[in-house]
Symmetry: C2
Subunit: 132 residues, 2 copies
DNA sequence: ATCGGTTTTGACAACGGTTTTCATATGCGG
DNA sequence: CCGCATATGAAAACCGTTGTCAAAACCGAT
């Protein structure tokens, strides 16, 4: 297991993610980099996001239309998200009771190796204002 | 708002879903129908699943790879699923406490029009046995 | 029963996000 | 500074899904 090479593109993608406090798609991120004068290829953006997601550096979320959205989170542990469906702004939330509930449900029905996905979607205060 | 016509294909898709107590993809369902001698087109299967999902007759779930999985549920109200990641077998579960928690989290952060997605994945007893 | 219109069907093409390909470029250890 | 394994990126392939459109089927009215 070798460490990834330190390339300009990798640094650029990471920096863009760090500056973006919301869930963004690979294509949107690519667009931002292009607009910023960085000639990073779309394929490269996808590859870095994939690697970052694999090692837990970024969290991944599936939008309704199937697009994958990425975001760097402050909390590196297990947590969930409260996401604005309009602008992607998100808040990290924890719910210990929910975790316990999920495990209990699984045990009751004989399921092993339990995981769960949980996301809360809504309209954030800022977007509520803009939309009346 | 007119009722959908009663066609052989619609009946066939519904019957196939009723006989399948697990989440299946549109393509898998199409394969089953083909194997059963029914010449139902893939497009038609997609259209019916779409319509059934829209009126709440079937529940939809996104697999990790982005594929949509469908299933007819006994409980027509709001509920979640405990799903076997190997065979798709699923159990319907309810968690009133979770619902309240989600709403409270949203309110605390000024989010409106709250919805949430929650699925529990695991390996069911039957698949655990097969896989040792 | 049959006619007429409206809806449904299904083979095929198009779509869109993501992944693969592969030749070139570039970190980086020796 | 070399050597070479890894990274890059344009273009093509992939794959689930949706749009197209002419032919077929449903169903109320005659």
């Amino acid at each position: 297991m070798t460490a990834p090479r330190q390339t300009k593109q990798r640094a650029t993608v990471l920096e863009a993610l760090r500056v973006t406090p919301r869930f963004v798609s690979a294509q949107e991120l690519h667009g931002v980099l292009r607009a910023g004068g960085e000639g990073t290829g779309l394929t490269t953006v996808y590859r870095h996001l994939q690697a970052l997601a694999a090692d837990g550096t970024v969290d991944v979320l599936r939008a309704d239309d199937g697009e994958s959205l990425y975001r760097i989170c402050a909390d590196s542990g297990h947590h969930h998200h409260l996401v604005c469906r309009h602008c992607g702004t998100s808040v990290e939330v924890e719910g210990p009771a929910v975790e316990r509930w999920a495990v209990r449900m699984a045990e009751e029905h004989g399921f092993a190796d339990v995981e769960h996905t949980l996301e809360i979607f809504g309209t954030c205060a800022s977007c509520s204002r803009k939309r009346g």
